[in-house]
Amino acid sequence: MLKKLFTHEWKESWKMVTLFNVIVIVFTLIGALAMTNKNWAEAMEENEWYAIIFMSYFMLYYFAILALSLATTLYFFIRFYRNFYTDQGYLMHTLPVTSNQLIISKALVMYIWQMLSGIVICISVFVLINGFIVGAGEDVTIWELFAEIFSEIEVTPMVVAVGIISVFMLIGSQISAILFGYLAISLGQLSKNHKLIASIGIYMGMQTLLQMLGSVFQIGFNVAVTNIEDVSDGLVIAVMLLITIVLFAVDAAMYAGSNYIMKNKLNLE
């Protein structure tokens, strides 16, 4: 049943999210092609209008990327809310599936699209920078520059460990972003009235609280590190591992919270 739920969620969402990504790709290609064919550094010195066009493009590009991330996240949160907590919930919650399957199928599709959008953004930034370098008449591409940087990194056990833990931290934080939204939406449903507004309020409140806790942790960590004369590799790994474990524990708690509300406290209008 999980596979069926996943397939239907994918079929119903791919067009819209693909459109968001295509807009960024088109925007990138226009910029990259324009820059590859012109040395903008020289052109800007000769004519101020080129500088204005160049800056305007990058501002728009920045907002396009921001919009892609925001729109993807918002789109999937809205789907979660509408599918499970509005009239559509009468269909979804009477399917012969568990609440676990409902949440996991939605989270999986959202996670994959967030990954894909992230990859699109990374490639887009590289393509633009490459266009600028090529346009400036340099004999090197960004890909060659990166290959050079990576070839200079000495692969030690410490680097490998940090790399592996970083990947887990990245996955954990991406899952957090999804489950955080799901929990806020689900908690909002416990409100008697104005459930959507309650969800948004809870989301913002929880964000603020988490940021404050994060800042306190950061300050504490910095103070501790300053007072330790020799920060060993082992300490760095231990702290990173601890953060990763806490991150996944928080993910599990947020998932359990959403699942509990959906299973035991569902109250469709």
Partner: protein
Amino acid sequence: MSSLVECRNVTKCYSNGRPAVYNLNLTLEKGHIIGLLGPNGSGKTTLIKMINGLLKPTNGEVLVNGILPGPETKARISYLPERTYLEAQRTVKDIVDFFGDFYEDFRKDRAYAMLDALHIEPTARLKNLSKGTKEKVQLILVMSRDAELYILDEPIAGVDPAARDYILRTIIANFNPAATLLICTHLISDIESILDEVVFIRDGQITLQTSVENIREQQGKSVDQYFREVFAC
């Protein structure tokens, strides 16, 4: 006769603390067409939601085929809520495929035959259909299943009188005699002819459960007349 639905001392309180259903006991047997009748706010929809697993009782338990509501019972119950619950962007065919994927007992050929009889295009998007046509689509989806229990909440309220006859005929024609059909409606006179049994509910409690024949014989009235008398304001 074996029981299909059993409600034992069921109470459901919402956040205001007031019970919508209070200490309710009810047994529905297999092979009956039952009208669940009561005034607004009497607890009909709350009871239906609990049978469907959309609400959890505060106290007591609801059993369907001897088990608590969950994926297994949902696979056996075909439920038509009073809401339009389908995503507007989808086509009728999308929804038929969706039901076909999730419900093993769903009969696509039956669904398409009914859509054809009501002149509903499978390629039409739901957002382009009238409210009444959407309700017909929902009813078709629900009646295209070979379920053990059909629960229809106001199935004919939004459709024109001409279509009502077709819908009632459709319900009877597609109804498996071994299954149970629970209909909740205010249009009692329209459905009276198909009912075997009625359940009256008031203030979250069952006040009467009897056969339609009994009402006619003992009270000398139709169900509609008797309902009006019992629930007169």
